[in-house]
Assembly symmetry: C2
Homo-oligomer: 213 residues x 2
DNA sequence: TTGATTATGTGGGCAGTGTCCACATGAGTG
DNA sequence: CACTCATGTGGACACTGCCCACATAATCAA
């Protein structure tokens, strides 16, 4: 009897998870507190015991996404130690494949639906952590003479922008066409390798620069 | 008597423009067909004579944004002829300052709220035009030996990603902090020059590459 | 054990929304 | 003038977020 869902139980987490399900299926605009409560099998007012607003539920869902993102970041940071280029590319790849797999969640996280200053700092930290990791990676890469010199913050912001941009293009479907038409193999791993190849090309421009010489 | 707004008139364009006003003030989620109709002074069903859906009104508003964007693009393309780097930077600057001035409109245009394949191709063209312009600029820059060689489409996609990423960071307020705290001069031109300086720094990383030499 | 307090879930209700419907009105055309 | 068609009107329905008072289960003090 793990989940004592009789009359009480682990709501809140149920709300968040089925919320994310609905998010993936019907987009941010298609989310309804009442419908979530209905499918969980609970009164239409139960969610208000765990979230003050619909907005707060959305923030909790986004926070869940940020948390997963950060967990993976730190794993990659260890896995590719002493390979800053690998660290950065794999981080980018992770964000981008998340944008490909769960475009709506990505849109919720980065589309301006969330105002980090509203919720109790909990979310703001999660969102900033990625930035902190990036700065650290850049700094390490500069020490190893892999990345160019200069203000690490500026370099990190540029890198973040590039990653976000790629992810946005993927999540909004502007890149999907090209790597879907090629994809005879429609399995997840198939799509993943194609996506990887494409991002590799596009990210290389960023690493080496658009200008000549 | 330009606007015969008595019983008939130029609705549709009124709907779009006051729609954009509401968008700027209250965000995408805060837009209500009924409220728009109410403030225009028209029945709550009048909009349905011009748009099948709320969605279609949103698309029309986004299309308006795309149109303005493209108009500026072609102007810049002429103004900075034979200066591909200038063309690209000014294009980026334009997108980004739009993201700064009207973050909600920008979010509507690129945040996944619009499915270009839905509306009658009219919007899809407007959105793709920017891409076409970029490819042309890149090609010209390659001819002038300013940009590196390689598939122009790939280079254009990278550039587009970088621009989008910067714009997203600005519109979602992740960069606002830094260039607002510095801004003693809070006038539009003041903010604009600060924004310009910041983007210049960040974009330079993209032009020269993150890697060392 | 018992009794009170707190956390959690329930139903009713209200204003507001998007969308469908039948109807009204006005402009334009034969 | 009559007819048609584009455009605008009010009514209605299901649905939503959120507020209220109330019910129930868990927790804890005595």
């Amino acid at each position: 009897m793990e989940q004592t869902n009789y009359h009480h139980g682990n709501l809140r987490s149920s709300l968040v998870s089925t919320g994310i399900e609905f998010l993936n299926q019907k987009g941010v605009a298609g989310i309804s507190l009442r419908e979530i409560a209905r499918t969980i099998g609970v009164g239409h007012n139960a969610p208000y015991r765990h979230f003050r607003n619909k907005q707060q539920l959305l923030e909790a869902m986004a926070e869940d996404g940020f948390r997963r993102l950060k967990a993976r970041y730190t794993r990659l940071e260890l896995e590719f130690a002493n390979d800053p280029e690998g660290q950065i590319f794999e981080s980018a790849m992770h964000v981008i494949s998340m944008a490909a797999d769960q475009p709506n969640l990505f849109q919720l996280m980065f589309g301006g639906h969330i105002q980090p200053q509203d919720c109790g700092g909990n979310l703001k930290l999660a969102a900033d952590d990625a930035m902190q990791s990036l700065v650290a990676i850049i700094r390490n890469g500069q020490r190893l003479k892999v990345f160019k010199e200069g203000d690490p913050m500026t370099l990190a912001l540029s890198t973040m922008s590039m990653i976000q941009g790629l992810a946005i293009m993927v999540s909004s479907g502007k890149l999907k066409v090209q790597f879907q038409t090629q994809a005879k193999d429609s399995s997840w791993t198939g799509r993943q390798t194609l996506l990887r190849a494409m991002v590799l090309q596009l990210f290389d421009v960023f690493l080496r620069g658009l200008k000549r010489s």
